[in-house]
Amino acid sequence: MKTIPRPGPADSTPAARSFEQIFLEHWDAIYRLLVRMTGDPAEAEDLALETFFRLHRHPPQEGEGYNPGGWLYRVATNLGLRSIRSFKRREQYELRAGKDVLEAAPENRPAVLFEKKEQDWLAHQALAKMNSRRAELLVLRNSGMAYKDIAEALGLSPASIGPLLLRAEREFEKVYRALDQKEEA
């Protein structure tokens, strides 16, 4: 059993390069996932750095099924969901998601963009309220991960992903509709 070697800052040893390689290989994907989840580039960078910090501090043991990419995706998804749960007020979300950009949209588009933002807000809230494990599954799948990679990241069998995904989508839809009705009321 081996572990991901920990580098020191500005370290150029082979061990340090190994961590750096993982960082350089996965940074972009992890950052983009978090930008999409939170809608806030600054928050996304903070959470992405935190994701790699956790890998640096408590690297997963290398062995059968060792997959640092999947591990990073899972940690990032958890941190992203936790961040979404902290969006206590709509104003806060809109601020993070770039309300100023929305308001600066061409005259014929604000209504469409506003509606889309409303839907995105509800979807974020639904993810925050539903079962964490199923929310993780939805985020990973809808970010484009294949079943095999999701299974590795979450420690599941590939054959179980289809049924679990369907269950997650049903729960998501139920929570989303409840939130939507509450908003309309």
Binding site: P9, A10, E20, F23, L24, W27, D28, Y31, R32, L33, V35, R36, M37, G39, P41, E43, A44, E45, D46, L47, A48, L49, E50, F52, F53, H56, S86, G98, Q119, D120, L122, A123, A126, L127, L138, V139, R141, N142, S143, G144, A146, Y147, P158, S160, I161, G162, P163, L164, L165, L166, E169, R170, F172, E173, Y176
Partner: protein, 391 residues
């Protein structure tokens, strides 16, 4: 194959993740196809709602190489801060305070010195100075458990507590806090505190065994630092008056371990408590020590021990009036500081880098009271405005 596919298999088929046998059945089974159409509608609905997760990323983030630089900086900052916390949060805290007070010293007001008699030097804080310290040199001490225990033992055997501060007590308002603390508590005008706490006074004496202290220095690899013989058996008395903290906004519990943990582990305490601001007011502690105790010499040893060269420590020591100055050791890479005009006097503004759990602290001394405004947020201007609005 006669057995129909289950919903999970039908769902997987929509993502092209069903095995060949299953696909073969689906192609020839109208019942499964009809069920799959229903599932497809649900899946597409959810996918539409979650389309922000697959949208092309908007603003471009930092390139991986630049992010790696940020990452390394964050690691270094956390190491420095962690070292800082270890140093001042272990049994060394009490000693830390004591050492600071000893090394730091503080000057006597002539009339009070007369009261103390000719055998004692009495020190009072009149100003605050920051000294950047490279705490990596302390790792050997704090990372070595045996040595750490010896330090703790030396400290606990050297200190005799005369008065414990007890638990903080909540005060209803500034007037009540003033009455309990025994000095005029100032609250910024136009601001409503979330909590006002009064911490009781504390007093203790220190009697250092120079032989044991020198042995510890030797064991930590610093036999080049020689403690003056005047320290041996010298009685140093420290009196810390009652103090007051005034909190604004949502603040972490100052006693809970979580606040330190969140700063160390989760990195985003600044985001969790962005509106928390704490104003602390502490009448200057007094330290009385035998006149033969050379504070500047002890300070120089302390500075060298924390990583300064002998020349650097000597140069710094000469710039400080050790009898009237509170010296705050600050991790070199974890924070910046500057002098500012505040509350009609010169104060010090300490700030941590804004990209990692931003924090600031504004310190100044006025009319015998040490003031500190600190926050996990980034708006240090707010601290200056608060300080300047004190009645």
């Amino acid at each position: 194959m006669k057995k129909h596919l289950n919903d999970g298999d039908l769902r997987a088929a929509l993502d092209g993740e069903l095995d060949e046998t299953g696909l073969h059945h689906l192609e020839s089974c109208p019942v499964c196809q009809e069920r799959q159409n229903l599932i497809r509608a649900q899946v597409q609905q959810a996918a539409r709602r979650l389309s922000f997760l697959s949208a092309p990323a908007g603003p471009t983030g930092p390139a991986a190489q630049i992010a790696l630089t940020h990452f390394n900086q964050r690691i270094k900052n956390r190491k420095d801060i962690s070292m800082f916390r270890k140093l001042f949060a272990s049994p060394l805290v009490q000693a830390g305070l004591v050492i600071v007070l000893i090394l730091v010293g503080v000057l006597s007001v002539p009339s009070t010195r007369a009261l103390a008699g000719k055998f004692l030097n009495l020190f009072r804080v009149q100003q605050v100075v920051v000294v950047p310290v490279d705490f990596t040199g302390m790792q050997q001490l704090t990372g070595n458990q045996t040595l750490g225990k010896q330090v703790s033992d030396l400290i606990s055997s050297s200190i005799t507590t005369q008065q414990k501060p007890g638990n903080p007590v909540t005060a209803a308002d500034a007037a009540s806090a003033s009455q309990q603390a025994g000095f005029n508590v100032r609250v910024p005008q136009g601001m409503m505190p979330a909590r006002i706490s009064v911490e009781g006074a504390a007093a203790f004496t220190i009697k250092v065994d120079a032989t044991k202290a020198q042995a510890l220095l030797n064991e930590s690899g610093r036999s080049d630092l020689v403690l003056p013989s005047s320290i041996n058996g010298a009685d140093v008395s420290v009196n810390i008056p009652a103090s007051v903290t005034v909190s604004f906004g949502t603040c972490p519990d100052p006693v809970a371990q979580d606040s330190a943990k969140s700063l160390n582990g989760n990195g985003s305490a600044g985001r969790q408590y962005p509106d928390c601001v704490i104003l602390a007011e502490l009448p200057t502690p007094t330290v009385s020590a035998p006149p033969e105790l050379n504070i500047a010499q002890l300070a120089q040893i302390g500075l060298e021990f924390t990583g300064m060269t002998s020349d650097q420590a000597a140069a710094f020591t000469q710039t400080v009036d050790w009898t009237s100055t509170l010296v705050i050791p600050l991790p070199k890479n974890a924070a910046t500081y500057q002098q500012v005009t505040v509350d009609g006097v010169t104060g010090t503004l300490i700030q941590r880098p804004a990209d990692d759990a931003p924090q600031y602290a504004l310190l100044w001394v006025k009319n015998g009271i040490i003031y500190a405004i600190s926050s996990l947020g980034t708006n240090s201007q707010q601290a200056l405005q608060m300080a300047n609005s004190l009645p």
